[in-house]
Amino acid sequence: MKLNLGPQHPSTHGVLRLILDVDGEKILACEPVIGYLHRGMEKMAEGMTYLQYLPTVDRVDYLSGFFNSFAYVTAVEKLLKITPPKKASIIRVLLMELNRIASHLLWLGTYLLDLGAVSPFFYTFRERELILNYFEKISGQRLMYNYFVFGGVRYELEEIDTIIPIVKAILEKLNDYEKLLTDNPIFLSRTKHLGILTREIALEYSITGPNLRASNSHLDFRSNTSEYKDFEFKIAKADEGDCFARYIVRLEEIRESSKIIYQAIDYLKREEIQKSPVNIDLKPMNLYVEPGEAFADVETPRGLTTCCIKADGTDKPYRVKWRTSSFYAVQLLPKLLIGHTISDVMAVYGSLDVMLPEVDR
């Protein structure tokens, strides 16, 4: 029998249609249909100037806007052959890690909502609100920040001292979640030994991010970028590759992110960094970019996002290419779902942390 799941299904976090081939409860085949959220982000860039395109890149993945901005801004900076001041790159790292925590908290809440647990959803959203309120304070909006500019960040970072209490509160609450979930027999039986992703399949399908690190791999693109060079952190990792391992990895990543945030605040409080400007004063009427190609990558909460720009000497990019990791995670579904029951579809799909706007762009 063919079963149509979605596109308007509450647990698809967007609009994804899954055509399932079922025999009773068992899934024989699965075909994901994507494209319902296609906004033409790449084509749109060709009709806009570099400055005009900057606010729209936050919409590629609206849960981690800073990461998309970062990829685009670094690629253009490479084309312009400028480097942001040290202070700006530390602020970028600090904000991106806060954003990673916010994104993982939202994943945790909605994933458990998919599994039928309602209260963690309220708790994680309450903690996420602390971070979003801080982002609103510095950039003006809760999700579409538009805070990074070519050559730095827009404004001075305000109220740095309020970050530490926020992070401490979240780490405290994280223990609450673990009490609620990690040993919970219902949660364990719904996630353990389910949707097992082996390392070979993950590498074959170009899976990156926490999904790959839950499958016994060390690959983290943060460790070899110049921005993260001064920061010490462990790479969260698990061996099993099932849904529970992905949950463990994401919780561990929140803890590691908090360590990076503490270090970044220490750096920002140093005198020589406090005095330096926050951006290269680059306020042109129009930004003309010399011909060439540039490429920038960043490790987002969902994996590797890259932005590749080809410039042709005008004020508009000739071509912008986005590589987003959720797109690859969706392609995994036919592989992972076969043999499972219908009730497990959302448990497996949710654990991959697929963001549909990022899939379709």
Binding site: L51, Q52, Y123, E136, G140, D176, D183, N184, K283
Partner: protein, 129 residues
């Protein structure tokens, strides 16, 4: 094994139960007003525009219409139906003429309210005085 599961379940239930006695964090919106930061990007305000047109160039949605008579700016309109409140106009303005303010309640029954003239008449200013 069963005992361990039972303990974990009860521990979880207790964690949820504790929240009954905590203060609610919900903002009762129309009664309570949100505390918006100074950087918030809401409805635009204009004062001292020189009509250079930078905001038109950096606007991603082409939402800004400027009419000029020689060097004088006679009309400055922002189409709020198109505007995405990115704040580019505010950031790139060379004389800081345009500012995005805290007013976020833009819902209206009349479409004309969304395409308003931002330059005020001198007569209007006198009336306010």
């Amino acid at each position: 094994m069963i005992v361990k599961s039972l303990v974990a379940l009860l521990e979880g239930l207790f964690t949820v139960f504790k929240h009954l006695f905590k203060k609610s964090v919900t903002l009762q919106y129309p009664d309570e007003r949100p505390n918006l930061p100074a950087t918030f990007r809401g409805r635009h305000e204009l004062s001292g525009c020189i009509g250079c047109g930078v905001c038109q160039q950096v606007c991603p949605c082409h939402a800004i219409y400027i009419e000029k008579d020689g060097k004088n700016v006679t009309s400055y309109k922002i189409d709020l139906r198109k505007c995405m409140f990115c704040g580019n106009c505010q950031y790139y303005c060379p004389v800081s003429a345009i500012k995005l303010k805290q007013d976020f309640e833009l819902a209206t029954g009349d479409e004309k309210d969304l395409l308003k003239e931002l330059i005020r008449d001198k007569k209007e200013d006198e009336v306010i005085k």
